[in-house]
Every structure is written in structure tokens, then in C-alpha cells.
Symmetry: C2
Subunit: 244 residues, 2 copies
DNA sequence: CGCCAGATTGAGGACGCTCAATTCTGGTGG
DNA sequence: CCACCAGAATTGAGCGTCCTCAATCTGGCG
């Protein structure tokens, strides 16, 4: 364990679910440094247009990547929970094309690109693991595109909840009861809906006894049926190792 | 020039727009091999669930990546035109989570992953260029997500046309008159609409004197106004070099 | 206790969908 | 060279999901 604490371990754990890493590679990862920063809700972690020199590892809370139209409509492009390296991709494309903001109180560790790139140059396996991680995230974005474009309101929300459930499960946490650090406005921006319609749809899901939101925690009453409503197939998350 | 011909040169050209590559790196790329394959419309180039050992370089025509819901609704996740390496990402994630199909007659060159990976291991710059290319593609998918989730029918189609215009321009071709190898059904699947509504929206765009589709070619009458309707900002395409 | 962001509810309207029929087009074989 | 055909484009009518606007309610915090 190093100064970056459990968040880094979670990230390493996730990388190892997706790639085979040698003990040395893991040691290199454990040697990464970082600066801890805390945010309250709805603050820019990384701003649009900025040219960043660090990637953000989420240690606590939740952050998200936002897109925005000219009229100011927002679209959430990804949600990051503890153990996620929110913008690993910025290591190779440092100009920020979509800002990252905190959804609630969040703490983030900024890891220097320099160290990530150097680690990748020393170990091709590590370089490939980083590349693969970005590709896996891209496939999540693609699934969101499908979700957004071709499913109805209930399925969209259900799908998002299923995704989070599996991601929390992969962290070893309870997949049926986990923090949902998003307001209904955030949910609306994630699913391309309005907050009003999110509210009504949420009520429908509650009345179907599928999910229940109490404060900041989401309870999944029936994951199987929720998955059926969502048309959910967890394979796109690439949470299990699939080697070439 | 090698056996892979102008398609490979186009791809190298695109990589060099996004990354600085040494002359040696370029020579390595030119040394890649590949097997040419031809397809008629709507055939699987790469099938769902398959574990592929090659990436597909588009030489002619157009192909696209498809998502599909349980009910069979389809969502186009990306369109690839000549010079695009459609699934470079499969080099690190070979299991196909979204099939690639031809949109019209298309010819594709299958490049062995082996050679790509080896090239990346020899040259960290090349490895980073591949990684960056995948990241840039991911940002295009994110922009599609925003487009799909937060813009109306006219803007969605206009945005797609603008994107293609800039991508053709980057290949040195006419940005105001280029092949649109997509049926209205494809356009519908790309934008999360129905074919009927695509048709009506297309008529509206034509009546606004913005675009005109004749057979398989798209003519852009007024790119500036089209861009305004689309709320288009080409930066997400990463077609100009932006170094760290 | 007052304040404020977020959640909830109502009513009406619009954008895009469904279903179905018709026309157009390009490629095919006779 | 023409007739034919299948796929694509086009149009109409009616409907439904989701949006807009606006008001009210709730819970946490200073």
C-alpha cells in the first residue's frame, strides 16, 4: 500500500480484471504518485479546453464527464465511481474536450501523466493494459449510445442502474444497495431525458418493485427483472478477463 | 507504397494528423501486411461474439459498427470510410461486442493484430499513436451520444453530415460533395430515429437549402449554416495535431 | 426557524413514432 | 432494349411518449 491508498488498489484490481499483469507491473503501478484533492458537488474537476498533465483517480464520491450543446443542454457521457481512473485517456489526448465534474462531495487523486507514460514505455504489457482500459471505456460509451438511442425511458434508467450494480459488485461491494450519487437532474442528463420524466419513470420502476431510492442510496429489489426491463447484458463492461 | 495500397497511406496520414511519427515508424506501418476482402451491402465484416485476429482497414465503400437491443432495434455506433481502421481496438479487445457490417459494396483489408502489437512493442511512439487513435474514436462516440441524447432531428442529421464532411476533407476530398453510402434506414439507426422521420427531416433540410442527396452522393449547399443548425464544432474529431 | 436545492405532481402541447399505402430507382434477366 | 422486381424513398393519418411550464412539497443545513 502506498500513499494513494485503497483507491489505487481498486484501480489495479480493475486493470487486472481486464489484463494479465506481472508482479513487477503491479509494483510499478503501486509506485505511482498523486495529489489528493477534495470537491463539493458540481465543481469542475477538469475544465473544458484545459490541457491537463494528470489523470484523475476517483477515491471517494462520484464524478462524471459532461458534454454540452450550444444551447447549454448537458449530456452525461460517463460516471466514475471510486477506483475508476476517470480520464486515463487524457494521458494521450491532454486537451479536455469534455469537462469532468463532481456529482457530490468527491475526492480525486491526480496522477501525473508523465509517470503513466513512462510506466507504459518500460512495460509493453502495461501500455497495452492502459490502451485496453480506454477501449473498454469506449465500449461502455457505445452501449450508452445504444441505450440512449434505442430504448425507452424505463429501460434507460434500469440499464444505468444495472451497470452501476455490476460495477459496484466488481469492487466487492453490495450490488443490491449502493450509493447513487446523482440527482434526478443528473439521471436525466445521463439518459437524455428531462428531470420531470425521470421522476415519473422512477416512480413506475418503484411501483413495479424493481428499485427504490432512499436518500443517496439505491436499493435494487429484483435485479433479474430489472435486467430484463433494461435488456441488460453485462459483457460490455469487460469486468472479466478475456485474453487473446 | 506496398500491397495495401492507398488505403494504408490514408490511414498513416490520419495517424500523423493525430500523432508525431518518425520516418522509421512510418516505414514499419508501410511494412504491414493484409488480406483484401470484398463485400456487398449489409454483410457481416466481423460478427458478434467472434474472437478476431485482424483489424479491418477500409479500402473502399463504407462499413459501420452496429449495436442491437434484445428486440432487434439497431443503433449505428460509428461509420468508417476509406482510410479508417474500423476496429483497431480489437487488437487489444479481440472479442467482438458489436458487429461491423458493410453499408454498401465495400472492400476491406484485414491486418493481423500480431503485426500491430509487435509494431507497438518495438516503438512506444507507435503504441501511443494507436492508443491515441482509439481514444479519439471514443471521443467521437461520446459526441454521438450527446448528439443523440440532446439534439433534435434536424440537428442530429446535420451533425452527422458535418462530421462526414470534415472527415472527407481530411482525406483531401471535396467536403461539399461526397459519397453518402447509407440508406435512410442507416441514417435512422445512426441518429436514433425512424426511417420515416429521417425522410421528413431530410426534406426539411433540403427545403432550407442546406443539403441535397442525389443517389449516393451528398451535396452540402451551405456548410456554415448546416454547421449552425447542427451546433457543430469539429474539434472532437481530433483531425489536427495537438501535442503534449 | 427559514432557506434552498431537489423531488413531486398537474395540465397541455409537440416531436417523433406506428402503420400502411404509393411512388421511385437501380439492377436484373429475358 | 425493355420489362420486371426488390429495395428504397416518399407521403398520409393518427397516436403516444416525452417535453414544457409552473406550482407545490420535502428534507437537510445554517
Amino acid at each position: 500500500m502506498n500513499t494513494l491508498g485503497p483507491a489505487l488498489e481498486k484501480w489495479i484490481h480493475r486493470l487486472r480484471r481486464r489484463s494479465v499483469l506481472s508482479a513487477e507491473d503491479v509494483q510499478v503501478l503501486r509506485g505511482l504518485s498523486g495529489r489528493v484533492e477534495k470537491f463539493s458537488a458540481n465543481q469542475d474537476v477538469v475544465s473544458l479546453g484545459e490541457c491537463v498533465a494528470h489523470s484523475c483517480l476517483v477515491a471517494d464520491g462520484a464524478v462524471a464527464r459532461f458534454g454540452q450543446t450550444g444551447e447549454g443542454l448537458r449530456q452525461l457521457m460517463a460516471v466514475y465511481i471510486p477506483g475508476d481512473m476517470a480520464d486515463l485517456h487524457s494521458a494521450v489526448l491532454p486537451r479536455v474536450s469534455a469537462p469532468i465534474q463532481s456529482l457530490t462531495h468527491a475526492t480525486v487523486i491526480r496522477v501525473p501523466h508523465e509517470e503513466l507514460i513512462e510506466a507504459g514505455e518500460r512495460s509493453p504489457d502495461l501500455a497495452r493494459a492502459f490502451w485496453r482500459d480506454c477501449v473498454a471505456d469506449a465500449q461502455i460509451a457505445s452501449e450508452w449510445l445504444l441505450n440512449n438511442g434505442r430504448r425507452n425511458a424505463q429501460a434507460r434508467l434500469a440499464h444505468l442502474f444495472c451497470e452501476l450494480s455490476y460495477r459496484y459488485a466488481a469492487l466487492g461491494e453490495n450490488p443490491l444497495r449502493f450509493p447513487l450519487d446523482m440527482t434526478q437532474n443528473h439521471l436525466a442528463d445521463a439518459t437524455g431525458m428531462t428531470a420531470v420524466h425521470v421522476n415519473r419513470t422512477l416512480r413506475a420502476l418503484r411501483e413495479m418493485e424493481l428499485v427504490d431510492i432512499r436518500g443517496r442510496t439505491l436499493r435494487i429489489t429484483d435485479l433479474d427483472r430489472l435486467g430484463a426491463v433494461a435488456d441488460f447484458d453485462p459483457r460490455y463492461l469487460h469486468l472479466t478477463q478475456e485474453q487473446r
